[in-house]
């Protein structure tokens, strides 16, 4: 047994060493390593992510920046440990030029750390944690704070200056989004929210006891829930008749494509603030939604859009040539189905947010929230 372990250790060390000596990477191919949840709780999002990346490559002749591209997909199983291990494998063994994907923030934090150690740039296609970043880390999705902040600005303008109640799942995405909302709302002249209700993340099967905490003087509710909790929340809100008592504004995840089918009729009329809608009227979006529908038969989700844009950013950067990590920061404006966006000094997107109302099977855009003039 001990001998077997020793042999294994030797084999592993030899394997790593072997990979390290092949450092003279092949320059004629762009290798993209995608760390995606193919199993675990986020696997439904992972399927969309991989499909969108493959679709981008198919639509661009399998090339990024004019060079043949290879997509190497690794499963993070939703855990940081596995993510970090896969990042190591992708950089050392597969020698990818860039890592992308990354659904859950804890995984993204671990992967960004490992990638920085291996001097490989990272393009985040979903994870929203505010603190996530670094010189080689680029994000085409959004930060949780900005997601809530945009909604807060809009609420102050359209939902009234007082009577706000916030509700969300008690983990980083929830609390950061609600914090962003409170500050955006205050910036727009709104009063301090009456109450903030946090629910245990991933353990709440019934929101009725929490909904009963909403004070009677509340005028509207802003909520953050994603995935299964978004479905349960939307159904409970409607079934217990809260939709007749107070106005609701939600994060984009509550009416995103991954949950809409399961929410069914209870999603009708929900207003949300998000970075994308399949109904956006621009040529990039028309082309993108048509291709996505032809491939999957559904409307593209936010994750699908973000993953498409992650490949698009890598494509533009590879076109510029030179060091990819540097080029990623110099791309400038990116033409996206969500409308054009740029990356700020911290490599986070500066973009429009859209107020969407779900009706007749699609999130219709009813207002646009432009980035604040800096």
């Amino acid at each position: 047994m001990r001998f077997a372990l020793l042999a294994l250790a030797v084999a592993l060390a030899a394997g790593c060493g072997g990979a390290a000596t092949q450092q003279a990477a092949d320059d004629s191919v762009v290798k993209v390593g995608a760390i995606i949840s193919q199993t675990g709780v986020y696997s439904a999002l992972g399927d969309d992510m991989e499909a969108a990346m493959r679709l981008y490559l198919d639509e661009h002749g399998g090339k990024l920046g004019g060079k043949p591209a290879r997509l190497v997909v690794a499963d993070d199983a939703g855990t940081p440990e596995t993510g970090q291990q896969k990042a190591r494998q992708l950089t050392l063994q597969d020698q990818v030029n860039v890592i992308t994907g990354l659904i859950a923030s804890p995984v993204a934090v671990a992967v960004a750390k490992e990638a920085a150690a291996q001097k490989t740039p990272v393009v985040i296609a979903n994870a929203g944690a505010d603190a996530l970043g670094g010189p080689g880390v680029f994000r085409v999705s959004y930060t949780n704070y900005m997601h809530g902040y945009a909604a807060g600005r809009y609420a102050a303008e359209s939902y009234g200056k007082d009577g706000a109640v916030l509700m969300g799942a008690d983990y980083s995405a929830g609390t950061e989004t609600l914090k962003g909302f409170a500050e955006g709302y205050a910036k727009g002249g709104g009063a301090k929210p009456l109450k903030q209700i946090l629910t245990p993340f991933g353990k709440t099967q019934n929101f009725q006891p929490y909904l009963s905490q909403i004070p009677a003087e509340a005028k509207f509710l802003y909520v953050f829930y994603a995935g299964g909790e978004a479905i349960t929340f939307a159904k409970n809100f409607k079934q217990f008749g809260y939709d007749t008592k107070l106005k609701l504004l939600t994060c984009q995840n509550i009416t995103d494509e991954d949950v809409l089918q399961a929410i069914g009729a209870d999603a009708e009329g929900i207003t949300s603030v998000g970075l994308y809608s399949p109904a956006l009227d621009n040529p990039e979006n028309q082309a993108f939604t048509a291709k996505w529908k032809a491939k999957t038969g559904k409307n593209p989700s936010a994750v699908a859009l973000q993953s498409w844009d992650a490949m698009s950013l890598i494509d533009q950067a590879a076109k510029r040539g030179g060091d990819l990590a540097q080029a990623l920061g110099q791309v400038g404006e990116i033409a996206s189905p969500r409308g054009p966006f740029t990356l700020d000094a911290k490599h986070n997107p500066v973009q429009n947010w859209y107020v969407r109302e779900y009706s007749g099977g699609v999130n219709k855009v009813i207002a646009t929230i432009a980035p604040e003039a800096s």
Binding site: A44, T204, P209, A265
Partner: protein, 285 residues
């Protein structure tokens, strides 16, 4: 007023948990098998019903028919599980736990492979999709009624019939039961089959309340385990009280102390265990 609604809602979740947990506690008490596939059976019930009914709103008759068919499939799965466990008799809990956990993973991954890894749900059947007293969902009232009926039937069989007496005797003294000429293995098998049928039935009953998704199996398994730890092993009364208590903790308890919501259930479990380590109605073994 809103606390009353919370208490009532707790009854609905308690009823669902009872239907799920009563099988688990009897299987443990009777066969001395900790069936970690119980959550996967619940999940299988939900997914099979979803496949049968296609996620659409259907009539109550069709719904009930599907639920009975799913319960029958659960009985069949229980048979498979019994056959799989048979070679491990007397090998201790750890081996059985590993086997049932492995089967649970196989079953749940198979279901996710057949349907997909996304979220699914089923609306309540026609006629039960409305609300009562202004704004309480009628379906939850129906879940309470279903829980009462099933609880009543289980209690009646257990306490008032010869079959129930055999089951109780097999828990207390299987050696003596065998000595008077009863086939104990058959009694054990029928408890296993009934428990598994109830688990898949609970999966259909809970479908409009808990979404189908990856990880549903372990989520409900943990709740069912907490119910039987609180109530005491192999006790129907324990399953009733444990399920109702868990239901109330997760509704009234959460409404009274929302900031403690994440810990409340485990705090109650710990308190019960400190008071009586074998649960409220459990006997020391």
């Amino acid at each position: 007023m809103s606390l009353l609604v919370n208490a009532f809602d707790g009854l609905a979740f308690g009823a669902l948990l009872f239907v799920l947990a009563v099988g688990l506690t009897l299987i443990y008490g009777m066969l001395d098998v900790l069936n970690l596939a119980h959550g996967a059976l619940y999940m299988a019930g939900g997914y099979i019903a979803y496949l049968l009914l296609g996620g659409a709103s259907v009539s109550l008759g069709l719904w009930a028919g599907a639920a009975l068919l799913v319960a029958a499939l659960g009985v069949a799965l229980g048979g498979v599980l019994s056959a799989a466990i048979l070679p491990l008799r007397g090998r201790g809990h750890l081996d059985q736990a590993l086997l049932t956990l492995g089967l649970a993973i196989l079953l749940s991954e198979f279901l996710l492979g057949v349907v997909d890894r996304g979220f699914h749900t089923l609306p309540p059947p026609d006629g039960l999709d409305g609300s009562v007293l202004g704004s309480y969902p009628l379906y939850r009232v129906a879940v309470i009624a279903a829980g009462l009926v099933i609880g009543g039937i289980v209690y009646w069989i257990f306490e008032r019939t010869r079959a129930g007496a055999l089951v109780r005797a097999a828990v207390d003294d299987p050696g003596m039961l065998a000595a008077i000429g009863v086939n104990v293995a058959r009694v054990r098998l029928s408890v296993m089959l009934a428990g598994c049928g109830l688990a898949t039935f609970a999966g259909v009953l809970g479908l409009p309340l808990l979404n189908l998704r990856a990880g549903l199996d372990s989520e409900v398994l943990v709740l069912a385990l907490i119910v039987i730890v609180i109530g005491g092993l192999a006790s129907i009364r324990g399953a009733v009280v444990g399920a109702l208590l868990v239901g109330q903790v997760q509704t009234v308890g959460v409404a009274l102390a929302p900031e403690l919501a994440a810990y409340l259930l485990f705090a109650v479990m710990a308190a019960v265990l400190l008071w009586n380590p074998s649960g409220m109605f459990g006997r020391a073994r």
